[in-house]
């Protein structure tokens, strides 16, 4: 019995599960990363994902077109990010407090709008909406193992992979990205060099909002095509944790996000068998984040203590 479970972790289907689990975490990770690299913390990723997920569903229901829904979700994501930017930069509110407040409101606010649209407070199941679905790539599909991985994924998964590459190029290979990183490293120096720090940061926040909204819509507009209360369930925070572990390294960011996805996959596989207590198995991904984040901070603490790295 136990052997069966563990052997199922080494099958192709498990890899596919992990890839499916990874996409929203990857979106959340780049949402956290892009603002952190410009020197602002967007801890509202979780709430923007919730708003994006709901706006995508309601938008595609209202317009009857799933792409219009995606557009509306993106607008809501960017709008929330602009709201954070307005209150933290123009009105001098603490961005962390604003983020905590938004995250805490996300649930009741989304239920409010869900109720107005459907008359229900749990899910949007009563709304029949078109879905985004998946894409088969003709040539690649017939390649044995690789075909199953590269073809037949959800559209938003391809969007995610594409954005990962574009973001890398933007941050590390373009003048704009260099300016963003300059704002993150030393805002005063960046200002002296003639960079409009405020504008760069607003730009990074909006990008972050767009990424987070896409992550949210990945949850609501794909196969299950419904919004349910609490569906984001900490994925946004996993992105923020991945960004914390990465500490500015893009490769580490993606690795941590994938690592968290593996534990989400393990949690799903294990919860299908009755061997382990189901309540504890469900907490495994959160424990993994807790564990790896703590370990990574202990490692950097020891490195600073032994004098290998200077404290920032």
């Amino acid at each position: 019995m136990l052997g069966n479970i563990f052997s199922s972790l080494f099958k192709l289907s498990f890899l596919l599960t992990v890839l499916r689990m990874a996409t929203p975490i990857l979106f959340a990770s780049i949402a956290a990363f892009v603002t952190a690299s410009a020197g602002v913390a967007n801890i509202a990723v979780e709430s923007i994902m919730t708003f994006g997920a709901l706006a995508g569903i309601l938008g595609s229901y209202a317009t009857g077109n799933v792409w219009a829904g995606v557009a509306i979700g993106l607008v809501v994501g960017a709008g929330t990010a602009l709201l954070i930017a307005f209150f933290s930069m123009r009105l001098g509110a603490d961005p962390i407090l604003i983020g905590i407040a938004l995250n805490t409101f996300a649930d009741s606010l989304s239920i409010f709008f869900l109720y107005l649209a459907t008359g229900e407070k749990g899910t949007s199941a009563s709304l029949l909406t078109p879905t985004l679905g998946s894409v088969d790539i003709p040539g690649i599909k017939s390649i044995p193992v690789l075909g199953e991985i590269l073809s037949g994924q959800y559209i938003l998964t391809y969007v995610c992979w594409f954005l990962l590459i574009v973001l890398f190029i933007m941050i590390y290979k373009t003048p704009l990205g260099m300016r963003m990183r300059a704002c993150g490293l030393n805002a005063d120096a960046a200002k002296t060099a003639g960079i409009n720090v405020g504008r760069i940061r607003v730009f990074s926040l909006v990008l972050s909002g767009l990424f987070a909204a896409l992550g949210g819509m990945y949850l609501s507009l794909n196969s299950i095509h419904l919004f349910s209360k609490g569906m984001v369930s900490g994925l946004g925070w996993m992105g923020i944790a991945a960004n914390g572990i990465a500490n500015g390294s893009y490769g580490m960011l993606l690795l941590s996000a994938l690592l968290f996805a593996v534990f989400r996959g393990i949690s799903i596989v294990f919860s299908q068998s009755a061997v382990f207590p189901v309540d504890l198995v469900r907490a495994v991904p959160y424990f993994a984040v807790f564990f790896f984040l703590t370990i990574s901070s202990i490692i950097s603490y020891l490195r600073i203590k032994s004098g290998k790295v200077e404290e920032q």
Binding site: I98, A101, T104, F112, L280, L293, T294, S300, Y301
Partner: protein, 366 residues
């Protein structure tokens, strides 16, 4: 030393306290105007809806009693979050503490540890406070020692505690009668009764008032409180003045955990007869953070804010009985707008600065 008798009572907007109060009132007014606007959009009878939300709890005595009873656990969560925020710690662990302390409460409440109606609830509260005080330290310890992101850690712990609580209840205390995951019924001796039944005033209210006063005195009249506030306002300065940030953050987290555990016990022993980890105390810890922001991290402000928010929520519930077009979550709009506005440093700052400038110029002219 300034001579207090020479200080005149300054009621103009230049006084920071008055300014805060004015800001709060204007933020509330803006929020009510926006709420009315929203009601106009979604309700057929917006005026009635608006009036019901504001006066609904007075319609029946038990509505008002429900406000008095239900705001207590939220106020405790607000106090817990408030002391953490005031010390500059973004430990969001109260939610998890409420859920895991609930297991301790349920375990003690389901066991015949004593036959005394007086002692049994006290033991429950002590168990919850102990569990809360210890577990709340984890994120703050990791932050103070290794610099771990306490927000993420505490949120992950919330989910982990929720899983552990479900597991413990399912394994050791599961009731055989209901289909949901819930503990056995508490023993009769564990229930907290009422001091004044018509308004549902329970000993928990007394406990809350006592805790609030103690917390206020600790925060504003003792060395520890001064250090906590200093560390929150300017951590570098606190460090250079020889305050141990490590000890301070542990002490703060322990106090917050004890408050959260106590609040959890109050919630369980007054609002439920058995414990459901995914239902009974869910969401209170998170709401507490908003209440702390509304009360500007001041213990008395937090208790007032908790009461007002619960009052509005009850009003929205009363409205929902007659007009189902308005979901009771509408109060979240008021909360959100007020929090965003009052936590904005620059909101209305121009008004105060103008006045300050005028006064300054006036003095020079003389």
């Amino acid at each position: 030393m300034t001579d207090r008798s020479e200080k005149k009572l300054n009621l103009s907007i230049t006084n920071p306290t008055v300014f805060e109060a004015v800001k709060m009132i204007i933020a509330l007014l803006i929020a009510f105007v926006i709420m009315f606007g929203v009601l106009c959009l979604i309700s057929d009878n917006p005026v009635h809806a608006f009036v019901t939300i504001l006066t609904g709890p007075f319609a029946k005595r038990r509505y008002f009693g429900a406000v008095i009873e239900s705001f207590i656990p939220y106020a405790f969560a607000g106090l817990a979050a408030g002391i953490l925020f005031k010390s500059g710690a973004f430990n969001l662990g109260a939610e998890g503490i409420y859920i895991i302390s609930g297991v301790a409460v349920a375990a003690v409440a389901c066991t015949a540890v004593t036959t005394s109606h007086f002692l049994h609830p006290i033991l429950c509260i002590l168990a919850a406070a102990a569990v809360g005080g210890v577990l709340m330290i984890i994120p703050s310890f990791l932050k103070a020692k290794f610099g771990t992101n306490e927000m993420v850690v505490s949120l992950m712990l919330n989910s982990i505690y929720s899983g552990i609580a479900m597991h413990l209840i399912r394994k050791y205390l599961l009731t055989k009668t209901t289909s949901t995951i819930g503990s056995r019924d508490y023993l009769k001796t564990a229930k907290i009764g009422y001091i004044f039944e018509p308004l549902r005033i329970s000993p928990c209210l007394v406990l809350l008032i006592v805790c609030t006063i103690i917390l206020y005195l600790v925060m504003y009249k003792t060395r520890l409180g001064y250090q906590i506030r200093l560390a929150g306002a300017n951590p570098k300065f606190a460090e250079y003045s020889g305050i141990s940030a490590f000890k301070l953050s542990i002490a703060t987290a322990a106090i917050a955990g004890i408050l959260a555990g106590t609040g959890s016990a109050c919630q369980l022993l007054t609002q439920s007869s058995f414990y459901q980890p995914d239902k009974t105390a869910v969401g209170i810890g998170f709401s507490g953070m908003l209440l702390a922001m509304l009360g500007r991290n001041n213990p008395i402000g937090i208790v007032i804010a908790s009461f007002l928010i619960k009052y509005l929520e009850q009003g929205a519930n009363v409205l929902y009985f007659s007009d189902t077009s308005v979901p009771s979550e509408i109060t979240a709009i008021i909360e959100g707008i007020v929090i965003l506005l009052i936590s904005s440093q620059y909101f209305l700052r121009g008004l105060r600065e103008k006045k300050l400038l005028q006064e300054g110029l006036g003095k020079n002219a003389r």
